[in-house]
């Protein structure tokens, strides 16, 4: 590791400093400082997002150290943006009983019983793990980054609620997570055995020479298969999806939102990094058949099982849990489509999905019934009449997740589908489209029940939650769903830039030098006009 590499870890370092701060402020005796913990966490998250923009600026791209040199910028920014919302969602929930008791004078503050510091510290740690996945350049790093993402979430699930369900969920999540780690670690070991190295650069070289000399050995393929399966656990991809519904239901809504985005993003990025690392997707016209078919089967199983599971749920959280499984399936289409458009679509979809999903969970976080979270769909009946803002947030975010045309989610799905079709996976895309139609059944329920159904006795007693921050977060995310499509050209260009592999970056810069005289015509399938400044100076390319 060079000192240069350290430069790229500045965003993560900022988060780690934030971890220390929040862990301390959560234990301070003064109530006001204690309550400012989420604010501090939010500040550090924003700072790391801003830092990643500068750290991964085009001037600093290092094509030798990283497989996907510019990935950190996009991931850093969306991690910060979504992470900020995830933190806001949690405000008012953590240690609620304890704080109430202290405020009422029934208890004195006892650091041993306070969970606030750990809660936010663990969130930041997990976010740092997600960012670290992007900069991985060997197997150990990748493994550590993935586990840094996951380990804090086990604790978050356990401490998110005080009832038995959460404990049970955490236990299941932890044990199964450990098993999946074992699976992909075994896969890594086999890869090591097949290539004799853990460094991606050399592994790539080894595998390429193997592929040139009569194909990959069973060891390499098997290692890769097991690695992908194991990482699939983070995505809740079939067949390792079984935990998702139980765990998501057991955890509190803000933590469920967290689980729905952070480990999933880490998993998808890890798969991307691994596939680029093995060099398979770039070298051959497509992935080796066993890998391709395995991903194909997993994608179809994942989206179908997720959607069918969601169809009949009456519990909103379970429904969203299953639907997030389905989204993993859609994401795998982009993975199958490979570098270039496929990864572009994956990165864009992560943004669209993150925004839509956290907005939906913001609604669940901002409402409560008799001090408990909303559980069933009946609780939402007629929500419009008493909480019109939250009802519209839920409606718009569901629309976006469903892929309703002007909203952000639509463009995400469009990109994925086009990527799939372009690489010749028409059947897969058709299956995904059918699944998408099936998902209309339950997403539209989330629109119709709050808006059109008449309130029931249960839903009459739904009140605002302890804090207004989740409401705020939900509204911001929904505005993003509505406004970001206007800047589609720019967003797609950014995600395309970030999804480039090191080779592509080198090729691009060589091309740019060659074209230095005349402005380069970088229109792939998706072109974005250059930023406004250049658009005004140079003739528009049309």
């Amino acid at each position: 590791m060079t000192s240069n590499h350290l430069w790229f870890l500045i965003p993560e370092a900022i988060l780690l400093v934030g971890v220390v701060f929040t862990a301390i402020t959560g234990l301070v005796r003064s109530t006001s400082i204690r309550q400012s913990t989420p604010v501090i966490a939010a500040i550090f998250v924003v700072a790391s997002g801003v830092a990643s923009v500068f750290v991964f600026s085009p001037d600093h791209l290092d094509t030798t150290a990283f497989l996907m040199p510019a990935l950190g910028r996009w991931v850093g920014v969306i991690t910060a943006a979504v992470g900020l919302v995830l933190i806001l969602n949690s405000i008012g929930r953590v240690d609620r009983r304890l704080e109430q008791a202290i405020a009422a004078g029934r208890l004195r503050f006892d650091p041993l019983r306070a969970g606030r510091g750990e809660y936010y510290a663990f969130m930041l740690l997990s976010l740092a793990g997600l960012m670290l996945v992007c900069t991985a350049n060997d197997l150990i790093w990748l493994f550590l980054a993935l586990e840094l993402t996951s380990l804090p979430t086990y604790v978050l699930v356990a401490m998110s609620r005080t009832n038995r369900l959460a404990q049970e969920a955490a236990m299941k999540y932890f044990f199964l997570g450990a098993m999946s780690a074992a699976i992909f670690l075994y896969g890594f070991a086999l890869l090591y055995a097949a290539t004799g190295t853990i460094e991606f650069d050399r592994m790539r070289y080894e595998l390429q020479s193997q592929a040139a000399n009569g194909g990959l050995g069973a060891l390499a393929i098997g290692g890769l298969l097991l690695s992908l399966f194991g990482i699939g656990y983070k995505l809740a991809a079939a067949p390792l999806h079984l935990y998702a519904a139980d765990v998501y239901e057991g955890a509190s809504a803000p933590v469920t939102a967290f689980l729905g985005f952070v480990p999933k993003a880490a998993g998808v990025l890890a798969i991307m990094v691994l596939l680029v690392a093995t060099g398979l997707s770039e070298l051959m016209s497509s992935l080796p058949y066993p890998i391709l078919i395995m991903l194909w089967v997993v994608a179809v199983l994942t989206m179908t099982l997720g959607n069918i599971g969601a169809l009949l749920q009456r519990s909103v959280k379970r429904m969203l849990a299953y639907s997030s499984i389905a989204h993993s399936g859609y994401l795998l289409i982009g993975i199958i489509a490979g570098p270039g458009l496929g990864y572009t679509a994956v990165l864009f979809y992560l943004l669209a999905y993150g925004v839509g999903n956290t907005a939906a969970f913001s609604v669940l976080s901002s409402l409560e019934r008799r001090g408990e979270e909303l559980t069933s769909l009946e609780d939402l009946a007629g929500l419009r009449q008493r909480h019109p803002l939250m009802a519209s947030v839920l409606a718009i975010s569901s629309g976006s997740l469903l892929g309703f045309p002007p909203l952000l989610g639509f463009w995400g799905k469009l990109l994925l589908f086009i990527a799939g079709i372009q690489t010749g996976h028409l059947v897969l895309v058709i299956i995904a489209a059918v699944n998408s139609a099936i998902s209309g059944w339950y997403y539209l329920k989330l629109v119709a029940v709050p808006i059109m159904a008449s309130p029931t006795a249960r839903s009459e007693s739904v009140e605002r939650g302890p804090s207004n921050w989740p409401r705020f977060a939900g509204v911001i995310m929904v505005i993003a769903c509505l406004v970001l499509p206007v800047f589609l050209g720019w967003l797609v260009a950014e995600s395309r830039d970030s999804a480039r592999t090191a080779q592509a970056v080198r090729a691009d810069s060589a091309q740019a030098e060659a074209d230095a005289v005349q402005p380069s015509d970088d229109s792939g399938l998706f072109t974005a006009l250059p930023p406004l400044k250049t658009a005004l100076q140079s003739p528009a390319k049309r």
Partner: protein, 747 residues
Amino acid sequence: MILSSIIQRIVLATVESGGLAQPETEPVISSDVVVATHHWWAGFILYLPLISLILCGLCAAMKVKSKLPAWITTVCLLGSFVLSLLLYFDYGGSPELIPLLSWINLADPGGNFSGLSANFTFYIDSLSLLWIMFVTGLGTLITFYASEYMESDLGKGYTRFFAGVSVFLFAMVALVLADNLLMLYLGWEGVGFASYWLIGYYYQRPAAVAAAKKAFIMNRIGDLGLALAIYLIWTTFGTIQYDELMDVIQSGSWKESYDGWTIDAIPWFLMLAAFGKSAQIPLYVWLPDAMEGPTPVSALIHAATMVTAGIYLVARTYEFFLLSPESLHVVAWVGGVTALLAATIGLAQHDIKRIMAYSTVSQLGYMFLGLGVLSTYGAAYHVFTHAFFKAVLFLTCGAIMHGFAGQLDLRKLSGLIRIPGWRITSIAMLIGCLALAGFPLTSGYFSKDAILAEAFITQGPGFEALGWMAIFTAFLTAYYTFRVWFRVCAGKVEYEPGDEHHGDDDHGHHSEAFHPHAPRFAMNFVMAVIAIGALAASVPYFMDTKADEALAGGWVADMVHDSTAQGGLPGLDRHGQSMGDIVEHGHAGHQGEGDHAHPTLFGMDVHTAMYVISGVVGGLGLLLAAWLHLFRRQDADRLKAFLQRHWWIAWLPRAMEHKWYVDEIYQGLIRAPLWIASHLMYAFDRFLIDGLLVDGIARIPRMVARWFQPLHNGIVQSYAVTMAGGVALIALLMILFLQFWKIGGGG
């Protein structure tokens, strides 16, 4: 069919392009279209209404109780107007593109077509300049008028009103300046939404809510047409950008992949869209009801600007109509019949605002007639003059409504010109009426002539009959217009207030205690300015043209020249054979202009004859109105009694008063069957689809789930076994497959 061709196109496009390859072909830029990045500031024509909307939103959030929102909106729109003027004076004479923001770019480097590109870019040509100038200009003035008109709603709905106006202007500017059909579509939907918002402004009133819904639904039908038209245009021509469309059509390259039916379908769908937005048969019924909105809205949206979007659409996509000439005949006939029908309804109404609404429908009919008979410049000119005179008519109606507590019945108002403070209103209304009636030398006179004359010149099925019908309509127009003016403004002073309470007024219903409050500065100023505009709108007819050939119609013909609508301009040599037969035959008379072949009417040149005929017809209508409604009002009652006494004629006034029972017919023919069908469908869905199919299918996963129940029992060990088993199974299969694959020698 459509869907499959789209999918096919995408597949072809994507397979051929092979990843993120660099496109090898240069993007086609039409030779005479220039990219004018130095006009970047034109973007603010669009942004200013948006800024105004945001500021109005802030005002609403801060509960502003003053007139601040009105001033914000007026200033922003004035800015837009000034920029539009600057753009006009800086316009070089050939179409320009002003890129603002990149949006969708699905390039298709391998194929013949350039994929799907839709950016936020302005397409500036004479047509869009004409539209943008009167849209922003009238928008500014009417907003200023509304600052006074809406003051009784201060604090309550005031901000909402101006926010709605800002939304409207934003969408309208996007519609007019768009360089592609998708952006036009967004603007199209946007103005529909703004119209819904503002018609339903008095949402406490059930009639207003119903009218808003009706307008929205009728417009949705049209929007469906537009959406389908855009799909078809894209699949047929491979692009939705105007400049590329013009190129593709003129070069004929689209014919290579043409499958034979879309060319004839596109104009029909476009027509559906235009008829919905511009209130033509069969979708016109929403416009009269839209008068439930505040009067400035009626003046701006439902008279001057939004309803002309349909005309704009047809003018913009005129090339498609020329490719399928029959569609233009339909446009002409629908326009002509709508003009007549609406005029007859207007004859029998008593509510002056409704009369104006029907006259709007009727005048829009004229414009479509103009488009249909290849007189795009006439249509555009009529849009231009109509915007002024109809706006002033609505604004004066609004002033009367405002002053007389909502009274709009012409039987209960009389002699306004003699009431102090109402002189400007009356004179402004007189000017508007003269122009609408086509009184000689007013703006409406020239613009209507441009359309009528062309109806006699262009050859088409029954166009001559259509021309005579339009002349008869002109007579009716003159009559019902002056019926309003003579009743309301002339005669002896008599009035009865309406039953509308103004929040800040303390007077009651009784006419003894009632004092009409005359319009003050803002309203008077705006009415005067627009009235002068309505007079001055005849000047462009005589202004010099920039074009090399002498064009009848002066400045406005120049506005259409060089635009997408130039196909309908007389005296110009049309390009190539891609135009339909109608152009070649239709404009035969114009080909040898100045020679011998010019068609004549009564031994005169058609234009000259039309000046005489429509002058006479307008005068006759005016005199009839003067007789029945000014000098001998009792004769009008006697005539009515006479009509009603005789059974063979009594149905006529009754049917006209009931708007030919069109609403009732729609109710019976469309709504009731739909209602029944929807209930049948509901039952079908409920019992068959839901009960049998969905629940049946849904039972399958549950059954499957039950097989796996032992595995999915919430016990962590069995989860682990399932997961590990699944992984092992698939992994083993893949390894086996690997062996097979290696033997097969693939890869």
